[in-house]
Subunit: 237 residues, 2 copies
DNA sequence: AATAACTTGCACATCACTGTGCAAGTTATT
DNA sequence: AATAACTTGCACAGTGATGTGCAAGTTATT
């Protein structure tokens, strides 16, 4: 008796699920309060279909946070520079590429309902940052007028602001994010400029990954183009 | 014929109105989504009574923004230091005292619905900041690796973060806010420490106002103490 | 003491959103 | 071509919030 092997998910369904995640990331980055309908529509699906992929809003948010945090944590573990200034700069530079994800993580992290979950998911990243800062304080390369905990928070906020609240299309956007973070860590602006001049690789085009990570929003319209109640183009079925 | 002069508002009503504004400021600083009911209850009034003082949610928010902005703008115009570094430091120091108002303004300013209104209300403050930054760039006392507009945004974000996302009860909180802002403006942390040492008045206890400004939340419980549907103590009738 | 001002509680209409059930249609996969 | 997987649209129930009308009570002011 050939016990019918439960057929694996259809390809279009897999794509649509991924599309929802992208769309949700983009939509929530733009408006943390984005409704399920808005998200589904901007992914080119009906609201009803979304519930076929995610049990509820929380499940969707949880997965967004998890995958986002995974990226961040992976990036953090990839930064191995012993020089704290360089490490912090490189970390910021790499995170800058994940602007939308940073935005979303920040939005969700501010929400009481998911504070716990985000805290856990982002723990490795935060640990890494704290370790870098501590190291810099120990060898005197970073500011010591603030305790590590507070400094970590300030640096995180500065990075978030520089990454998400500055026009990312500007050519100097990435460099700006890095300089901003270093400033918060205690360097003068001239020191940050000098540091980046000495380490041009930090702002490099970073063709040094493994697989090219499919980035945000391969779906249709950006986030919420006056979302009526009809699907945008892009749905596959 | 003694045309009955329309009796002036009762004193308790005036107090209650002020109480609502305080409560709303505190509540919204804690949670930008705070409901009308939550606000009213934390002011010791019923939801219904609130509508006797404010036409709708927007009217309430508008007044909060306006009074907050008025404080900020007044503060900004009071800062007359010619030295850009000192001016920026003093401005931050003074704004730090308005933590709850800064928090609220930031929250509301992020909301699309009130973006326009907040922008107009805060214009004078932003102009003042831009002027200070421009001055600093001209005489080389502030960073010149970022254009004024972007720098203004970054400084604003840094100040907001330092003022609202750091425990305000810490003794160094105020100093921290100032140092943070100066860091973002390009100074190294040692320079900020030196600057504050040279100008102890910046962190002074500021007994140098005119009338003591009635500050946030003379009402009852902080913001939302598991807001049921019954008034907290504090209502006057 | 009389009056107008104020507050309360309740009922009510409205809105936007969430989550689910189900029948009917479309499409990928075997 | 048959089948299971997927999507759609609609209906429906539930939640939580906003804003208003009104009668009854309480309180400041004259």
């Amino acid at each position: 008796m050939t016990t019918s092997a439960p057929r694996r998910p259809r390809q279009d369904a897999v794509d649509n699920r991924a599309g929802i995640l992208s769309a949700a990331t983009a939509a929530i980055a733009h408006d943390p309060q984005a409704s399920i309908n808005t998200i589904a529509r901007s992914a080119g699906l009906s609201r009803r279909a979304l519930y076929g992929h995610f049990a509820d809003r929380n499940a969707l948010l949880a997965e967004i946070i998890d995958t986002g945090a995974e990226r961040f944590n992976r990036i953090a573990s990839d930064v191995t520079d012993t020089d704290a200034q360089v490490a912090l700069a490189r970390l910021t530079s790499l995170l800058w590429q994940q602007a939308a994800h940073v935005q979303v993580a920040a939005s969700i992290a501010l929400d009481d309902a998911h504070l716990e979950a985000t805290g856990k998911a982002l723990a490795p990243l935060r640990h890494a940052v704290a370790a870098i800062l501590q190291r810099g304080q120990n060898d005197g390369t970073l500011r010591t007028d603030v305790d590590v905990t507070t400094l970590a928070r300030l640096v995180e906020e500065a990075a978030r602001a520089a990454i998400t609240r500055v026009d990312a299309t500007l050519p100097e956007a990435r460099s700006l994010a890095v300089r901003t973070t270093l400033s918060m860590a205690g360097l003068s602006w001239r020191e940050t400029v000098a540091l980046l001049a000495e380490h041009p690789d930090i702002l490099g085009d970073s063709a040094a990954g493994d697989a090219a990570p499919a980035d945000v929003a391969p779906a249709a319209g950006g986030a919420a183009p006056a979302a009526g109640d009809t699907p945008a183009a892009g749905a596959k079925r």
